[in-house]
């Protein structure tokens, strides 16, 4: 299962970058959001760390929706979804492969969002890059685990996959709160140990929704 999961992730990343596109749409939307929010402060006025972190995670949240919409669109043309269902690949492997590919693309988007937040929002990264990376990874994982499950529901639904966002965003709330709170804490020099509760919550989200996705994905992605 691991090798075919990696094959899915590799294939999806190749497809994403074929034609030089990649997650360009998600990156542009995120940058645009950062820019527009930067207008909400008067010239010379700085954003509070909480505002800056909230905007950063809002961009990431929008990016996840676009990324998984893209990843599942790959299986619509020529009905490759059916070919995957007929293959020996366990269907959970497909979910895992898509989640991994989504995680890579999301991290790539954030490579652009982060400096944009530094420049436009005056975000101060603080002195704990390791902790920050750990937090971003933990929250991103949760976003992608959920994205991989809900994104598959948009598969073959045409315009309806835009509707799914109205349920995805509120579901992400615990993760976004965690990302904002940990980020602000780290920037203000709070030690990692003091943020244990929040890390616990983020990991609980990752674990609970991974379990739910393993159980539920076969019901979402099937031949009917």
């Amino acid at each position: 299962m691991i090798s075919s999961t990696l094959a899915i992730a590799r294939k999806d990343l190749r497809l994403a970058f074929a034609g030089g596109q990649g997650p360009v749409q998600a990156v542009l939307l995120g940058l645009l959001l950062v820019f527009i929010f930067s207008l909400s402060a008067a010239p010379g006025e700085r954003f509070s760390p909480q505002q800056a972190m909230a905007i950063f995670w809002l961009c990431s949240s929008f990016a996840v929706v676009l990324i998984f919409s893209l990843l599942f669109r790959f299986e619509e043309e020529n009905d490759t979804a059916t070919a995957l269902l007929l293959s020996p690949l366990p269907v959970q492997g497909l979910w895992l492969g898509k989640t991994l590919a989504g995680l890579v693309l999301l991290l790539l988007c954030q490579v652009f969002f982060f400096p944009a937040a530094l420049v436009f929002l005056g975000l101060d990264p603080g002195g704990n890059p390791g902790g920050l990376a750990l937090m971003v990874l933990g929250v991103d994982l949760g976003l992608c685990v959920l994205g991989g499950l809900i994104g598959a529901m948009g598969h073959g639904q045409g315009a309806k996959d835009a509707l799914l966002t109205i349920i995805v965003f509120p579901l992400q709330v615990p993760l976004l709160l965690g990302g904002i709170r940990i980020g602000v804490g780290l920037m203000q020099g709070v030690p990692l140990a003091a943020l244990g509760d929040w890390f616990g919550l983020v990991l609980a989200f990752d674990a609970v929704f991974s379990g739910a996705a393993l159980f539920l994905f076969p019901h979402v992605f099937r031949g009917e």
């Binding site: 190749r14 070919a83 007929l86």
Partner: protein, 219 residues
């Protein structure tokens, strides 16, 4: 006839879409080294039956037993199952790892050569004509070396040379002991190649038996 060595065994299979009956009471057996032709008018549910046989759909009633694992099963239909943004070789590389076949690039190029696409190995499959995409689909089937093969009118859009290629591969598959279920619109042409015929008509199975005893007038 119901021997445990059969590749496929359907008993009293019925299917509905919503509350609409598609067909009922389909029972059939596919033995190794044989070709089953599925016949019937448009809308009789032939494609649905094939999906049920392949395990894509669960029948509403009855049972389906397949004697081969998923990795020894292949399906070729109207849809080409091709990723347009990947090259012909890239498509095969992907299915190679999903099916765990372990072929190297030379092996995959050999398959492309057999379907006449070697010169297009590195070109994006999205630029292919329908016939070429179907030949790439055929290469995927060859890659799997299936013991159980499902064909849903695969010759649509194929030129004469490609059709000959497909028919050769059918004979080769039967010769190595594989079973084939084949939906064809051209009964005149294909009946001679089949061992058994299953005919769907009037929302039920109208005939299942040796191809030689199947009378075309029943259609």
């Amino acid at each position: 006839m119901m021997g445990s060595g059969s590749l496929l065994d359907l008993r009293s299979v019925s299917h509905f879409f919503g509350s609409r009956l598609i067909f009922k009471g389909v029972s059939c057996v596919l033995d190794p080294a044989s070709i089953m032709l599925v016949a019937g008018p448009n809308g009789a549910g032939k494609s649905t039956l094939l999906k049920i046989m392949a395990g894509l759909l669960a029948p509403r009633a009855g049972s389906v037993r397949r004697g081969v694992p998923d990795r020894s099963m292949a399906f070729m239909g109207h849809q080409t199952f091709v990723y347009p943004a990947l090259s012909a070789l890239g498509n095969l590389e992907f299915w190679n790892s999903v099916y765990g076949r372990g072929l190297d690039d030379a092996g995959l190029l050999g398959l492309l050569d057999r379907v006449g696409l070697k010169g297009f190995a590195l070109e994006a499959a999205g630029t292919f004509s329908r016939g070429m995409a179907q030949r790439l689909s055929l290469a995927r089937v060859l890659l799997v070396e299936p013991e159980l093969l499902f064909l849903d009118e695969p010759s649509t859009g194929l030129d004469t040379a490609s059709q000959a290629l497909l028919h050769n591969e059918l004979e080769a598959a039967r010769a190595r002991g594989a079973g084939v279920v084949w939906i064809s619109h051209d009964l005149e042409r294909d009946l001679g190649r089949a061992d058994t015929v299953l005919q769907l008509s009037g929302r039920a199975m109208a005939y299942f038996g040796p191809a030689g005893e199947f009378s075309r007038e029943a259609l």
